[in-house]
Symmetry: C2
Subunit: 194 residues, 2 copies
Amino acid sequence: MKGRPREFDADEALDCALEVFWRKGYEGASLSELTEAMGINRPSLYAAFGNKEELFRKALDRYAEGPAAYTREALNAPTAKSVAERLLQGAAEALTHPDYPPGCLGVHGALSCGEAAESIRDELGSRRAAYEVSLRQRFERAKMEGDLSADADCADLARLVTTVAQGMAVQAAGGATRQDLRRVAEMMLRAWPG
Amino acid sequence: MKGRPREFDADEALDCALEVFWRKGYEGASLSELTEAMGINRPSLYAAFGNKEELFRKALDRYAEGPAAYTREALNAPTAKSVAERLLQGAAEALTHPDYPPGCLGVHGALSCGEAAESIRDELGSRRAAYEVSLRQRFERAKMEGDLSADADCADLARLVTTVAQGMAVQAAGGATRQDLRRVAEMMLRAWPG
DNA sequence: ACAATTCCATACCTATCGATACAAATAGTA
DNA sequence: TACTATTTGTATCGATAGGTATGGAATTGT
């Protein structure tokens, strides 16, 4: 390994980029804002992350493993209802976390790109679809394990939960408080089948 | 009335602009796309509508009175549950209407603007907030009229319904079908209190 | 000590953004 | 016809977008 070592930490810079994308969306985040927030200059960004689109994808991975990890972890809850509860209450917390911008990077980014960033929108759409599938499969397992009524439609139920979570993301972006979202989650769970 | 008459119909042009904003969001819609869709050129647009922001506001008014009129009309339904039903089922239809872009102009536009268009976001936010208030007041009236249980929290209920509607808008923008959204609305209504 | 390699910084590229200046064209009025 | 008011088309403005070329500074292995 020869050559001059880089003077910044790639993960820290990626976290800063994530926050900018989170606040402004994909197209709303300019390279000048990104480089300023990351503390590096343009050529360093391109050398380390490729281009804006690759940077966004890497920030997205980091988002999924960090601030949005609750979505994956919720699937490990013991029953169908507890899965929904951990997902929706986790959303209420995460979408209004004081250390991060309000709202959801995925929802924010998906709706805020013109046709130039179509590949970004497709990427986010397929990620959401994949999550909805895994949620449906989790509910099917719950049905077999007996903690979800046999006549429930798992696909519809998964779509309902993701729809509410996405609506909560819109609410958070619009200024809803943590308490507001907790109540939405609670009312939704009170109506849980079975 | 002196001077050369304009060669285009202002309302038709506004409808075309509305559709472009609807598909691309506020910042995602460029003036070139707008003028091309409207069939006029740039100075004519500025002479007739002021600037991009004023054009968007006028398109927003036209949206509220046209494709999104169901939100206001739903408030006239006889009972609280029928109000929610008309709103959510109306959303399922409107958000997937074949003659219009999928999704909701308000949700799309609010999440897809950087800080440059902060006034646009505030405008959309206050419109949503105003609607949520009118929905709450409608529920309070329903409580007095006896078709909503006395222990229901009208503010929470209004927020829940708008949250689901906004989530449906995100789902529609992501490609959900009309049938998908109808089922979401139906499941939500099945859990209606009282 | 030297050369290879890598990084950082300035300055610049082309394309596009929203917004306008200007003059030709079209109408009503006298 | 002369005059005025308004629209329309072209051409362009300054600002900013994403993305690079270039050159010097810094750190490594030999």
